[in-house]
């Protein structure tokens, strides 16, 4: 009887130990995946800030040449307001929409600059356009890295048996991909001669 109890307790102990190790391991994996999404998201925010700063410089440098382009001005202003509100709300969905709006406004701005020979001939403008292209590429890489991290996370919380631990620890909500509502990538179209 005593021997049976010892064996029973030993088996229970092993089960509890293995269960604890598995639970801790699954929890840590979920935390790592969640943190990676947050890290990649922070990378995008840094790039968005840098892009807004470059847009400000471009608008300031272009100055009076853009006065008659009220539509482009309005697009930039609206996109900036949308971005500021999105940062304040902290909502990724709002940030994605603001990013898409800014990209659209920037595409229009770049087209205006390219179509205005007085502007495209200014060295400062050319340099800013070059910097903008580099920044936009960094942003594109950041979005791609973020989406990879989201794909890993979303797949992870749906896979068995991790789905059990995900629900247990509150990781059941999938993260949004950084793309437009129709799933298309957000892109800025650079003029051919930029």
């Amino acid at each position: 009887m005593k021997k049976g109890l010892v064996i029973g307790l030993s088996v229970l102990g092993v089960v509890v130990l293995v269960g604890g190790i598995v639970t801790a391991s699954e929890y840590n994996a979920l935390v790592d995946a969640d943190e990676n999404v947050a890290l990649q998201g922070a990378g995008i925010l840094t790039s968005l800030e840098a892009r807004n700063s470059l847009i400000d410089q471009l608008v300031t440098t272009a100055g009076a040449y853009l006065d008659h382009e009220s539509e482009v001005y309005q697009m930039i202003t609206d996109a900036r307001i949308e971005y500021t509100d999105a940062v304040a709300s902290g909502s990724y969905t709002d940030l994605i929409n603001a990013d898409a709006a800014t990209s659209l406004a920037l595409t229009s701005l770049l087209a205006v600059v390219e179509d205005t020979p007085e502007l495209s001939g200014i060295e400062a403008i050319t340099n800013l356009m070059g910097a903008m292209e580099t920044r936009e590429y960094v942003l594109q890489v950041s979005r791609s890295d973020y989406n990879d991290a989201v794909a890993t996370y979303n797949a992870s919380i749906r896979r068995f048996p991790r789905i059990i631990f995900a629900r247990m620890f509150g990781f059941s909500e999938p993260k949004p991909y950084w793309s437009m509502t129709d799933g298309e990538d957000i892109t800025v179209v650079f003029p051919v001669n930029a």
Binding site: N127, G130, T134, Y137, V141, D145, N193
Partner: protein, 281 residues
């Protein structure tokens, strides 16, 4: 009989695994492997071997000198040239993906310079048009080599010797002067601004006349093996590839090491986030 069957099963299993790993490793890479020289992959075959040798030797020295500086990491500077049909084809190349596949720099301290050429035949002679230069910098290299600094280096070196719109041909001195001069400026940033070793900095005014003589003396010298991708075995033996690839090729690698061993120039494991420069011409 049973023993024979089980042996056959093991053999067939190993063969199938070999094929699976082979297919997996081929599929996981989008771009050509770097050349066996690693620091120069002149797939367009436009650089003089003298320039290739200069880049390979100085880049290797820089990496060997810096790879053990843990607080910064080892800098690797890699040049690649590609021949394209037209401007549109350049869009098929993604500098960030190439950088990550070649794992340039230790602790993300890498620099990848890519030149895209188109070829034109005039009077039976091959002329090359440098259409675009792209630079990708590793995560930790980007603060040292900003797009503004890279733009200045480009203007003072490559564009100075080979102005935009100028056709070149294989082993053209103008192209080699521009590329060599650019390499020297990148080395100056590394030694002067990153590792704070001013003794290793060579001012451009001293370098260029020396390099002109160097090219004249060594032009057309021995090929460096920079014109074609490294073979598959060397690629994995040099440390690239996935974990499963490494396990498979590691077995062969161990055998080679036990037989005496040899070393390859290889990537330091670096990654990048898109920093650098695009320069259309």
């Amino acid at each position: 009989m049973l023993k024979l069957i089980s042996r056959a099963i093991v053999l067939v299993g190993c063969f199938v695994l070999l094929i699976i790993f082979g297919i997996r490793s081929c599929g996981s890479h989008v771009y050509p492997r770097p050349s066996s020289a690693y620091y120069v992959s002149d797939f367009a075959e436009v650089l003089d071997p003298a320039t290739e040798n200069f880049i390979i030797s100085t880049a290797d020295t820089l990496y060997e000198d810096t790879k053990n500086i843990d607080e910064i990491g080892g800098t690797q500077i890699v040049f690649a040239t590609f021949l394209v049909e037209n401007n549109a084809e350049i869009a098929n190349y993604d500098k960030n993906t190439l950088f990550r596949e070649w794992e340039i720099g230790k602790n993300d301290m890498g620099v990848l310079v890519i030149f895209f050429f188109t070829k034109t035949v005039i009077d039976d002679l091959d002329y090359y048009d440098l259409k675009q230069m792209q630079v990708e910098t590793g995560y930790h290299m980007t603060p040292y080599l900003t797009d503004i600094e890279l733009n200045t280096i480009y203007s003072d070196t490559l564009n100075y010797y080979l102005p935009a719109g100028t056709l070149t041909y294989p082993y053209d001195e103008a192209l080699d002067m521009g590329v060599g001069s650019m390499m020297n400026e990148l080395l100056n940033v590394a030694y002067g601004e990153i590792y704070l070793q001013p003794d290793n900095v060579v001012p451009q005014s001293e370098f260029d006349p020396w390099y002109q003589d160097y090219i004249l003396d060594y032009s057309g010298s021995t090929s460096t093996g920079a014109n074609s991708p490294m073979d598959v075995f060397t690629f994995f033996f040099a440390g690239f590839g996935s974990l499963s690839d490494k396990i498979l090729f590691g077995v062969f690698g161990m055998l080679f090491m036990l037989a005496g061993g040899f070393s390859f120039a290889k990537g330091g494991g670096g990654s990048s986030g898109g920093g650098g420069l695009f320069k259309r011409r």
